[in-house]
């Protein structure tokens, strides 16, 4: 294999594919990225078997071939070369990366040891705006759990709804639900949140194609493809947690509430709950921590219903407010003991359900 490419372009395809290379793979070959050069292109694959990123780039091909090289080392090596054209050439058991003087030689890994990687099962994809998808993913993945002991909570449930599809994630304390209309998705699945978080950093483009098959989900674009193995677990039945209406509803400016929570968080670290006394004219946000002190401030807004008091984990509350893409936030609640809902006053489609803390 022998190619010539611009340093930044080559570093980009190598580092994006390397993002799928795991940190704890039992197979040495999976520490590498597979570089396949045919025609006028180099195709780079990185995988930990659960997630696979494939990128490609038009390059000047002097000799076709396939090589497996250490993922992080190769992308860092290319980045450290002087700007401009670089060459990558195999030589017996090594690959030599050169550019304007410096030369870095890396030992190849055995291509024969690289496992067969499935990238999708042929399920046709649905086209969607890349930014729209990534923004929606960022809204819901905050609620996904990082605890592998409960695998069903580490994923984002993607499922078809009328006129589009829905994404939902929960760690059992909060639930984030986002509807994306205008893109039909024939079937759904439970997609690892870890994989979805990588879409923005690896393959997103103006337009992407999302396909969910029986075992895998793939997002692809002109920049490459990301495939993740679906989680084989049952996602909690969350629909029942979303009532049609609430008797109490507070509307406040997002910036005002977020700033109040931020100030309260100064005192509320270590999970001291932040209290909201909600009633006519807005809410009083307060925190009391015996050994430190407390904060209290008024956030003006409009309210309908019966006054109530509710307390939340400040981080979870701030996460939810931040995720709402609207200048005005609505907090819906039944009372201080049941889950509250955060949503945008003018932008339907996103719902953040948060359980209170007992006070």
């Amino acid at each position: 294999m022998h190619i010539r490419a611009e340093r930044d372009d080559l570093a980009d395809v190598l580092s994006r594919a390397a993002r799928a290379v795991g940190t704890r793979s039992p197979i040495d070959a999976l520490q590498g990225v597979l570089c396949e050069v045919t025609g006028k292109r180099i195709s780079v694959t990185g995988s930990d078997l659960e997630m696979t990123v494939r990128t490609s780039l038009d390059v000047e091909v002097k000799e076709e071939g396939t090589v497996l090289i250490p993922a992080r080392l190769a992308s860092e090596a290319v980045k450290k070369l002087p700007a401009g054209a670089v060459t990558m050439k195999t030589d017996d058991s090594e690959v030599e990366i050169t550019g304007h003087g410096p030369s870095i030689r890396l030992r190849q890994l055995s291509v024969d040891d690289y496992p067969h990687i499935e990238t999708g099962d042929g399920t046709p994809g649905s086209e969607i705006g890349g930014k729209e998808l990534v923004d929606a993913i960022n809204q819901v993945v905050i609620a996904a759990s990082g605890d592998d002991a409960r695998p069903m909570l580490t994923g984002v449930k993607v499922e078809p709804i009328e006129g589009g599809f829905r994404m939902a994630a929960t760690d059992s304390y909060r639930l984030a639900v986002r509807d994306l209309l205008g893109t039909e998705l024939p079937v759904g699945g439970l997609i690892p949140a870890r994989g979805l978080k990588e879409i923005g950093r690896t393959v997103t483009d103006d337009k992407v194609r999302l396909s969910v098959g029986s075992r895998m989900a793939t997002v692809s674009s002109e920049r490459g493809s990301l495939t993740v193995r679906l989680i084989e677990a049952t996602f909690p039945n969350y629909q029942q947690l979303l009532p049609d209406s609430y008797p109490n509803s507070l509307t406040v400016k997002k910036g005002d509430l977020l700033a109040a929570i931020d100030r309260a968080s100064l005192v509320a670290e270590d999970h001291i709950p932040v209290r909201l006394e909600v009633g006519d004219g807005g809410a009083t946000v307060s925190v009391t921590r015996q050994e430190v002190g407390g904060t209290s401030e008024r956030v003006e807004g409009t309210f309908s219903g019966e006054p109530f008091q509710i307390a939340f984990n400040p981080r979870y509350l701030a996460d939810g407010i931040t995720a709402v893409d609207d200048d005005e936030i609505v907090l819906d609640a039944q009372d201080g003991h049941k889950a509250g809902i955060l949503r945008g006053a003018n932008t339907p489609g996103f719902t953040y359900l948060l359980m209170p803390v007992r006070i």
Partner: protein, 219 residues
């Protein structure tokens, strides 16, 4: 397990001779053949006992327990007040590390209690020498290996040191820090941890459980 409450006297012949006068006692005959005589007090030792294997012969008003070593326990029963047989099944064993496991679960949900901005990568993160309790990421992007002990001593520091060494070999994890967490951390462990540039943190189990209880779940 057979539990007999009876007014009885007991005579032991073997390595020595012992006599328990007539009184109300609990006779336990365990599934493996052990026989133990208990008084209504004391939590530790029976008054008399014979370890398995034993042969128990029940005669009218008198039990004879013998073993291959030539020991003999004679129980003369004046009145049987209760006789119960209970199937107890397989003993799962003493779970000495129950608190540590529970601590791991509670802390996995609240790693930010250990350090501001800490996020969980994985519980039971595998290394070549065994799983580290928690692997986290700090605000600067460094990895943090967390070893959890009920009572953290210098053994815990040694264990954490080994984990950190192995994790540091994985360049993709970046810089690896370490934190020893316990309900108590011994002074020696604190000193050794600090000497090795490891952090330590004491946590309050009851407080963690209370937080868990206060925070309501959706399901």
């Amino acid at each position: 397990m057979r539990l007999v409450v009876a007014v009885c006297s007991v005579d032991y012949e073997g390595r020595l001779e012992a006599h328990l006068p007539m009184a109300t006692r609990l006779i336990m005959v365990k599934a493996d053949g052990c026989v133990a005589i208990h008084a209504d007090g004391g939590a530790y030792k029976p008054l008399n006992w014979m370890n398995a294997p034993n042969t128990l012969i029940e005669n009218e008003g008198e039990w004879e327990v013998t073993n291959p070593k030539g020991e003999k326990l004679t129980i003369r029963i004046e009145e049987k007040l209760s006789d119960q047989q209970v199937e107890m099944g397989i003993d799962p064993g003493l779970e000495k590390d129950g608190v540590e496991t529970q601590l791991q679960v509670l802390l996995a949900d609240r790693v930010e209690l250990l350090e501001d901005g800490l996020t969980l990568i994985r519980r039971e993160y595998p290394t070549a020498i065994g799983p580290v309790d928690l692997l986290c990421r700090d605000v600067r992007g460094d990895a943090m290996a967390v070893e959890i002990k009920r009572k953290a001593g210098i053994d815990g520091v040694e264990q954490l040191t080994r984990y950190r060494e192995f994790l540091a070999r994985d360049s993709r994890l970046g810089n690896v820090r370490g934190m020893l967490v316990g309900l108590s951390v011994s002074p020696q462990a604190r000193l050794l941890a600090e000497d090795r540039d490891l952090m330590w943190r004491e946590v309050d189990y009851d407080d963690l459980r209370e937080r868990e209880g206060r925070t309501l779940r959706l399901f």
